[in-house]
Amino acid sequence: MSKFNVTRRGAIKTTAAAGAGLALPTIFTSSAYAITNNPTGGSVTLGFNVPQTGPYADEGADELRAYELAVEHLNGGGDGGMLNTFSSKVLDGTGIMGKKVEYVTGDTQTKSDAARASAKSMIEKDGAIMITGGSSSGVAIAVQGLCQEAGVIFMAGLTHSNDTTGKDRKANGFRHFFNGYMSGAALAPVLKNLYGDDRKAYHLTADYTWGWTQQESIAAATEALGWETVNNVLTPLASTDFSSYIAPVLNSGADVLVLNHYGGNMVNSLTNAVQFGLREKQVNGKNFEIVVPLFSRLMARGAGENIKGIVGSTNWHWSLQDDGSKAFVKSFGEKYGFPPSQAAHTCYVQTLLYADAVTRAGSFAPCDVAAALEGFEFDGMGNGKTLYRAEDHQCFKDVLVVKGKENPQSEFDLLEVVEVTPAAQVTYPPNHPMFGGDEASLGQCNNGA
């Protein structure tokens, strides 16, 4: 008879066992931290924790390029980039306080446990005195918590959830990137000008911390304009085909679709929405519109033609014409052959800001560095005048409202800036309900061992 000896039970059991094995956490240990926050040798090590594998690996690669460039500039190499335009002049190209800057890298894999494990390894094994990077709010919040416990400074990379500097803010964590509330506050007036104040919005939202806070912020900002939020549907992060979520939009009476999605989710949901002809549709006597609150050029490339004419917000764009942006684009472009992304920009700036704070504080001790960053006002880094607010460690600066370009001149020329929203318009009180209210607290700064 047949020589098959695969059994259904056996196959399912083996599959489950294999799956369980693969899902095991990377590191089980929870030993005490052993950190050196007072580097005594001739060098100092920074830990760049970026997604090198997984869905955000391209953004991670761009972040790493920016970090390498920042290290080069701090050590006196290259053309100096933003060191020449930065309003603070204490950095002189001799490393940080005369110590040569070295770095180690970790792979967050865009998974919280893997990111914590790689950050922990860089702190404990490599002696990294500062951790920076990442391309996801879930990861940023997880690593920020670890750095707080470990007593090192965390300079967040790309993280847009309100929670990072809201209810999950930490004394040792700092964010230069903007957030969901700021996107809403910047977008709302532009949306009113473009589409009017009588609109019905349907939200599709990625089902995790960033999506929730993003949706809450945009809904609040647009409802304040007079828009009605018809529905908000949470979509699993692992979704690939959004057609079954798009179809109900057609019969909902909505005339605007807000896609609170990022990365692959955004590319796919936008592609599906355009496929279903939403952009050619007329509802309530108006043209149907699509809004993508958080734009990234790297993601816009994935969405191709579909991005044209779609409005969103971004932290920074390479086409800005201020001196800081031009200096950074020149350094980056000449070294790598293409313009930097917003992820690269925020990571580069965060590294310089850390180095500057250490130098101004005259100490590597995290609490001294934190004190130097708190309330620090600076300029020349591409976003105009910027404040690192002491109460929540969030940077307040201008926000860009952008639109997918109709006639791109090159493969990088995908977004055009339609408005630079001034910082004052996106500023909120530190105890804002969307940011944890009165209960949100930075806690105590931790100087580590």
């Binding site: 020589k3 000896n5 259904r8 690939t240 590319v267 592609t271 579909n306």
Partner: protein, 340 residues
């Protein structure tokens, strides 16, 4: 009514991809007895055949446009595809525009070749090894394949748009006075899937080769005793299964832009489809593929998600549990197949 029909169409569409992948999985299950965790990777490789052809057709030469500048202020390099240079902008442009359908032609030999190479080069050495080894080696192979693709194509999705003529939506309910606007390419994908499924069934049903394979699936030893080299035919079936998954991937590109991870996204669901359909049952795989596609589609409607929050995320597994409890061999599983 319109909304219900639209969700059925969506389900058929998603179900098409599940059915095609599950069909290939079942073919490999049924013939070689291997649980092929690399099958999703074959779907992904198919999609990247289209990406590769699109890139090859778009290979360009550069000319300098002194009137414009690039982001560094240097004179802009304007790229013109070679095919447009050779055949003129109209014909050349049309060739690039039809890259995805054209990819079907190149994907068939490439995917059959990859299938052969996979089976002869790696998987055949694991026939006599424990099933855990087979699962691990095919899963490992899937990871290797997707990392190779990521190395060359990056981690972000890559647009592979359909031809302009097949862009847009068509109101397929117009004849019945209904408003069912559905994307043309999704209709094409569904019809293409039906054609492929029909082709595979006809091949197995109406050719001598197919008859021998079916006999081998039912009783491999006896067919071998008749002097037929069944292993060779089974290897061919592996190639065929790879081609089916690959073609499903090629045509899926315009629906959702391919990325290196797309195979894994479909793999687990396709295994559930195989189990629900009945292990080793080809019609079961197809039926379960379409059925679960439609159920998933309905579970994502606003009505369903507000009635039972989270139903969209668990519906497929819920149905799998119910089916396995009530019909342990799956919907169309036969007694004796894959059982001790």
């Amino acid at each position: 009514m319109d909304a219900i029909l639209l969700q059925i169409l969506n389900g058929l569409d998603k179900g098409s991809a599940y059915a095609l992948i599950a069909l290939g999985l079942t073919l490999i299950f049924g013939t070689l007895g291997v649980v092929n965790f690399a099958h999703g990777a074959l779907f992904m490789l198919g999609a990247f055949c289209a990406v590769t052809l699109q890139r090859l057709l778009s290979l360009s030469y550069e000319t300098i446009d002194e009137t414009k500048t690039d982001f560094l202020g240097n004179p802009l390099k304007v790229k013109t595809p070679y095919v447009e240079g050779w055949f003129g902008p109209e014909v050349g442009g049309a060739i690039i525009d039809w890259a995805v359908p054209l990819s079907v032609i190149i994907a068939i030999p490439i995917m059959v070749g990859i299938g052969y190479a996979m089976e002869r080069g790696l998987i055949k050495h694991f026939y006599k090894r424990p099933h855990a080894d087979q699962i691990l080696v095919t899963f490992g192979l899937a990871i290797v394949l997707q990392e190779i693709v990521k190395y060359f194509f990056g981690a972000n999705p890559i647009q592979t748009p359909p031809p302009d003529a097949l862009l847009g939506v068509v109101n397929i309910g117009a004849a019945f006075g209904l408003e069912i606007a559905y994307p043309i390419w999704r209709m094409v994908y569904f019809l293409f899937s039906v054609a492929i499924i029909g082709g595979v069934f006809s091949f197995l049903q109406f050719t001598t080769f197919g008859m021998v394979v079916r006999a081998g699936m039912a009783d491999r030893e006896t067919v071998g005793l008749l002097g037929i080299d069944i292993d060779k035919r089974f290897t061919t079936m592996f190639g065929l299964a790879a081609a089916v998954a690959g073609l499903a991937g090629v045509m899926y590109g315009p629906i959702n832009p391919p990325n290196y991870h797309m195979g894994m996204d479909f793999l687990v669901l396709s295994f559930v489809v195989v189990v629900v359909g009945g292990m080793g049952s080809l019609p079961g795989a197809v039926l379960a593929g379409f059925m679960l596609g439609i159920l998933e589609s309905f579970a994502s409607t606003t009505w369903a998600t507000t009635t039972i929050p989270g139903i969209n995320q668990i519906i497929i597994y819920l149905v799998a549990i119910i089916v396995l409890l009530t019909r342990p061999r799956g919907l169309m599983g036969r007694k004796g197949v894959m059982e001790d």
